[in-house]
């Protein structure tokens, strides 16, 4: 009896070992996304983007079956570091798609330098420094950064909307710094004034004092909030009965907020915003992507149309798949060939053509949009115009851009 038992144990161990061996044949891809904290809804949509891209590729890259390992972060750099370490050290992953949030991206730039054979393709993070200051040779970003996503919005709200003086409410970390930086570059040059900047911690619950602090004499309020914070702010703003006009940051007036429950999001109707996607763009490739997205998940498990996050993660996966296809999936040289291939990969993405600069940072299209209500009550981003081929230096020469300095709570200054 005892022998039989031992034999059974031995046999099952063998079976398990065989299973492990099989799994090793698969190509493992780590995906990092914010699945808790304020940016959860965005993280979930990013994962959906990867799932759709993987399904379209028949769950194969360069002829090899893939296994996707998703790890959760919470938008903090240390959670991203933990997640990446887990993927690299425990799951033995060589390819990572992620992270989602600005400061996570900066942490991953530094981490990826310490793991020479790692190839990291940014999910959706958009801090300027990630690819601008000491960029990592292993880190590729196929989406614009937060400043690039604001290209043209400043001029647009100043000239077409007539907002001469605004105040800013944004979260206190690298991505909103970058967004306000990009916005202010254009807005202040056009002649606009920023009367006040309020920075709130990511995950702020109570906006009562912040709302009371909005100056009376501004034409509009720039909101650089995201996910749960954005919904919280709008709810509480609605409760105080305020009537200010808004300008939306890229993830403020995007589907993560426009698809949220409750009536507060209606405050955003008419809000100009700019981003890497436009919900209602009539380009056939974009429309096809929207249709694919809508068909891939039931209506209550997705947004009305793909968010910026879903699109960026989708593009990241496709960039990886294309580059891997070109080199026949050969990673035996520690990923050197893949890195070289990725650097020259040009993506014909649903949201326009994307190519990389020498820092492995995307040069891509920015969309200026305005929130509008559809007949069925859904909110969408009405397409206004595109700003094509936005580079990281925002059309400035390298020296002129360097002279502006890095995004921070106060930079760039915006004095009349």
């Amino acid at each position: 009896m005892r022998k039989a038992l031992l034999a059974a144990v031995a046999a099952s161990t063998l079976v398990m070992a065989a299973g492990a061996a099989n799994a090793q044949d698969k190509l493992k891809i780590g995906v990092m996304a914010t699945l808790s904290g304020a940016l959860t809804s965005g993280g979930e949509d990013g994962v959906r983007g990867v799932q759709i891209a993987a399904k379209q590729a028949g769950n194969k890259i360069a002829g090899r079956e893939i296994e996707i390992i998703t790890v959760a972060t919470d938008a903090s750099p240390d959670s991203a570091l933990r997640a990446a370490r887990k993927l690299v050290e425990q799951d033995k992953v060589q390819l990572i798609i992620g992270p989602l949030s600005g400061s996570e991206g900066i942490a991953m730039r530094d981490y990826s330098k310490t793991v020479p054979n790692l190839v990291m393709i940014n999910g959706s993070s958009g801090a300027l420094e990630t690819t601008y200051v000491n960029p990592s040779p292993n880190f590729f970003r196929f989406n614009s950064d937060g400043a690039q996503w604001m290209a043209g919005l400043g001029e647009y709200v100043f000239k077409d909307k007539g907002y001469k003086k605004i105040s800013v409410i944004a979260e206190d970390y690298s991505f909103p710094y970058t967004q306000v930086f990009g916005f202010a570059l254009g807005y202040c040059k056009a002649g606009g004034q920023i009367a006040q900047r309020q920075w709130v911690p990511l995950g702020t619950k109570d906006f009562g004092s912040v709302i009371a602090n909005i100056p009376d004499d501004v034409d509009a309020v720039f909101l650089g909030l995201g996910g749960g914070d954005a919904v919280n702010f709008l709810n509480q703003y609605g409760q105080t009965g305020g009537k200010a006009k808004f300008i939306g940051g890229s993830i403020m007036a995007d589907q993560t907020v426009l698809s949220s429950r409750g009536a507060a999001k209606r405050l955003l109707v008419g809000t100009p915003t700019s981003s890497g996607v436009a919900d209602a763009w009539d380009d056939p490739k974009w429309q096809a992507w929207v249709k694919t997205y809508q068909e891939a998940f039931p209506a209550d498990k997705r947004f009305a149309s793909p968010s910026l996050f879903a699109t960026n993660y989708y593009n990241a996966f496709n960039a990886l798949a294309i580059a891997m296809g070109k080199i026949n999936g050969d990673l035996s040289d520690g990923g050197a060939k893949l890195r070289a291939e990725l650097a020259r990969t040009e993506l014909d993405a649903p949201n326009g053509k994307v190519k990389l600069d020498e820092n492995r940072q995307a040069i891509a299209t920015t969309f200026i949009t305005e929130v509008a209500e559809l007949p069925n009550g859904d909110l969408t981003n009405k397409f206004i115009k595109t700003v094509p081929n936005v580079s990281q230096t925002m059309g400035l020469s390298a020296e002129a851009f360097k002279a502006v300095g890095l995004p921070s709570r106060t930079n760039p200054e915006c004095k009349p």
Partner: protein, 336 residues
């Protein structure tokens, strides 16, 4: 009150001056000079009111916490989980029934039921072993947090404010004068005022129940000397269960309230637990007036901190706790 004035004439004078000053700040029309040095009056008033309503929320959570501690010497570190659990239950029920009041009641009952189960199945069997109880509650809070994450995900939820509670009201405080001399009145969310009123009502009812009823008498006796109470033939276990259920229920109810004027998401449980710990340490373990006082102080400190020194707002709360522990370690309102 008179007793306090007689014993501490100096402190009473100081408190009276502070209250007068505060009232003056609230009702006076601020001069440009004052606005220059303190910021705009609307900001000050809004921080004041937000602090008080936030204090109301903390009071709801901390009063249950302090009652349980006072009676059972059980530091229930799963109290924050009960808050989050109640909030989620209230959110689901509110969605199903479209009624905020039903959501409140169901959340109270659900959290109370969990409280009863915790007391009957766990804490009864380790009575008097403080350390073990505390460790078990930490374990429970981790398990609860994971179960809630499993069933509700990491998303942010907001309990829908009923129509009769939403929208702003005008308060009779002048915040500014327009250039033509017309006064601008303060507008404030009605839901926050309703929550404040509710918390005050509940506090008064609890005080009455504790000081004017038979059960309250038994509870107070139990806080003072549990063994003696048991020796007189009172079924203390029943009282324990009752208090545990009530305290847990209050946490659940507070979850719905918090989910209405703020929001619910994973991590909220530890945040609210930490706040209520600070509240009861400042106010004094086991005392309801202490919980009210502590909640008010912590709420005000958080709000004023976030307005006037945003970078150090979190620290301010703990500085207050440290100061109280240094000067009056038993808490502001505790007798022992």
């Amino acid at each position: 009150m008179a007793d306090f004035v007689a014993r501490r004439p100096f402190w009473s004078l100081l408190i009276a001056i502070a209250i007068t000053l505060l009232l003056w700040l609230v009702f006076a029309v601020w001069t440009p000079g004052m606005e220059a040095s303190f910021g705009r009056k609307r900001v000050f008033l809004s921080a004041l009111f937000n602090g008080i309503t936030l204090g109301a929320l903390y009071f709801l959570v901390a009063s249950g916490f302090t009652l349980i501690f006072g009676l059972m010497r059980n530091v229930n570190l799963a109290h924050g989980s009960l808050y989050l659990f109640g909030g989620y239950v209230g959110y689901s029920v509110g969605n199903l029934t479209d009624s905020w009041l039903i959501a409140l009641v169901v959340a109270f009952l659900a959290a109370a039921l969990v409280g009863i189960l915790m007391q009957v199945l766990l804490f009864r069997w380790m009575e008097g072993q403080d350390l073990r109880q505390t460790l078990v509650t930490i374990g429970l809070s981790i398990i609860f947090a994971d179960l809630l994450l499993w069933s509700y995900g990491g998303d942010t939820f907001q309990v829908t404010t009923p129509d009769w509670l939403s929208g702003p009201v005008q308060l009779p405080f002048v915040v500014a004068l327009r250039s033509n001399g017309e006064a601008v009145m303060m507008t404030y969310p009605f839901v926050r005022i309703a929550i404040l009123a509710g918390a005050i009502l509940l506090g008064v009812l609890m005080w009455l129940a504790l000081n004017r009823t038979r059960i309250g008498m038994l509870v107070r006796a139990g806080v003072d000397d549990r063994d003696m109470l048991a020796a007189t033939g009172v079924r203390v276990q029943l009282i324990f269960i009752l208090i545990f259920a009530f305290g847990a229920g209050l946490a659940g109810l507070a979850g719905v309230v918090g989910g209405t004027f703020q929001s619910l998401q994973p991590g909220e449980d530890t945040k609210i637990l930490l706040s209520s710990l600070v509240v009861v340490i400042v106010g004094g373990m086991g005392s309801i007036p202490g919980a009210a006082m502590g909640a008010l102080i912590v709420g005000l400190a958080e709000q004023f901190g976030s307005v006037y020194m945003p970078t150090y707002a979190v620290m301010l709360t703990f500085l207050i706790m440290v100061a109280v522990l240094a000067i009056r370690p038993q808490g502001l309102a505790a007798r022992r």
